[in-house]
Point group: C2
Chain length 361, copies 2
Amino acid sequence: MARSGPKLTRIARTLGVSAATVSNALSGKGRVSAELAEKIRATAAELGYVPSLAGRALRTGRTAAIGLVLPDIANPLFPQIAQAIELAASSAGYGVLIADSRGDVTTQTKAIERLIDRDVDGMVIVPRRGTRITDVGCPVAVIDTPSTPGNTVAADHWGGGRQIAEHLKALGHRRVLVIGNNPASNVQNDRIGGIRSALAEGAFVETLWIEPLEREQGKGCPLGLAEKVAEGFTAFACVSDLHALRALTELQRAGINVPEKASVTGFDDLIWSPVVTPALTTARMDMTRIAAIAVGALVKAIGERDPTDAAIGAPVTADDAEVPMQLVVRQSSAAPPRIQFQPGQTTANARTSAPEGEHQP
Amino acid sequence: MARSGPKLTRIARTLGVSAATVSNALSGKGRVSAELAEKIRATAAELGYVPSLAGRALRTGRTAAIGLVLPDIANPLFPQIAQAIELAASSAGYGVLIADSRGDVTTQTKAIERLIDRDVDGMVIVPRRGTRITDVGCPVAVIDTPSTPGNTVAADHWGGGRQIAEHLKALGHRRVLVIGNNPASNVQNDRIGGIRSALAEGAFVETLWIEPLEREQGKGCPLGLAEKVAEGFTAFACVSDLHALRALTELQRAGINVPEKASVTGFDDLIWSPVVTPALTTARMDMTRIAAIAVGALVKAIGERDPTDAAIGAPVTADDAEVPMQLVVRQSSAAPPRIQFQPGQTTANARTSAPEGEHQP
DNA sequence: TATCGATGATTAAACGATTAATCAAGCGAT
DNA sequence: ATCGCTTGATTAATCGTTTAATCATCGATA
């Protein structure tokens, strides 16, 4: 209720015109003379007029609010996403309502329903791994991965995987262990696909899935990376910085120095990545751009939509659905130990990227 | 606009009564006979009636939405907080609008203004370190620390500090380095105060502040913990798990095994705490309870407030402003190395808490 | 000069709910 | 039988904005 501020009628009365004229002048819609419009804008600004969203919503059927649905709000990416979406939305004049789904599917449905009941104009959904977004009854932007059908916009996870892989290859790694969490995740599969494709010739790649392993051995169980090192693996390419962190500390704990004896890479450039020792090499998404595209497409769809009609179909589409990832090289990746080098390899090139100090045996 | 769903009048027409009666029946306010009320509720449920928030907001001046303001949305605690607040708010019938302030003070003010312009009924603010909440013009619940004036509810950070300290003391630690980020933070000061107070007799405590150090030596600089170990420090009590992680990896990297040669503790039980090796000993806040109290107090204040009056004064108060923290003992804390033990110490007791394997020299 | 069009502003209805004021009916007591 | 009170429901106003329809004015055209 615009906290006791001036209403439209207040401005109208002040200038001796009708409320409709004020509305027209401010929205630039009806027919208002230039000078009167200017005068109206001036006094509106002077009085600090802020339109009542409630009044407008009632009349137009638009609440100027969008919902943000994340599968797992405990996801460490959440801050990045929320921040980016909020920025994009607020500069487009939209508010952001959050919906928690605690990973649970039924809870997610409930959360979406609550948003609908609140009459959001649209929603941004980062779907839970593998979940298909059912028709929700308002425009929806989906941020998942380019290979997902119905995806609106996403980082080029595959390309990010390629970049990580190229980086490791250039350093001289030939036996790489890819560490993922759950094979049902589209994002993870794309990242891994990218890694494998870039490493296809001349390198051996194996994949370790954490979640199945933990179902067997219990949460937080060791991943057995020391054994993998013994098997000749020199690099651990993790599908998220969280797993990279896990790998890093497990290796360190086992006395395997990173990056001298083994390299570790992650994804997403999460908060701790630059802070740990050694700082993590990772691939970052351009969340600001992704959010801008998602919200842009959403707002466009909202504008084109007749607010009185009911459900609409598929998620909205954007012109630019694929945003490149950026490789961030830090200290957790370097050339593999000498003994692992294959004959004919350009060791010189690889060595230059290795951090100073702590040389290998 | 309750997406093409049935309106009040629709129910009224179906039953041949007036809209006012339906409204009264549903809200239980006016005078409606029991059987008619029941019939109305039944058909409302059957038709799937959802009241239009916009219509209601316009009439009552209540939007049933609250704002959530966090100083730094990149804060890794954000997911926990947001999740808890959202849960508490939604079960009280409120939606949660997020406001990003990117750490910046002016941006924070802007964000708060946007929330006001959106007519939130109240807001929950987790203030930036040291910031006093100016009068915002709607009820406000502040979550900071019990010692902050104007605080509504918070974890007992001091008590959490004491628990960490008691734990370390019981393990036998006598030289403890406390690691904080910024001395201007109320929360950090309380945590450190608690630690120091419990360690006052019979132990030596020093505090290391990261932010000042980084201003000198650059972001991500080493904290020099190996030197501290050489100086005889056996435990590093960090004011956040993020710093604990930094300390842990720096120590591991320097070849100092945790917890055999040095213990590391954190705060907040962040996402990675159970996952790293060794898993972090930490102190957790009961965010669910804190959020419930904050939102409860807020909702109460909203209910008592006359929606037409303007600014109100101080933040709302709650009966129970101090929620105890919970010590979570994991593998990163153990008895200090033998050589550090003071004569007359009950080493047996301390040893029992130490993890098996990897014995000290 | 009467008419047509364009221009600039006003009127009034509508969005969907809440609520104070009003009204009708039933019943007990005077 | 009438007055007054309670009960149960209706009427109508209201919140603040938007917008279709209307109206008045003036200049130009026939």
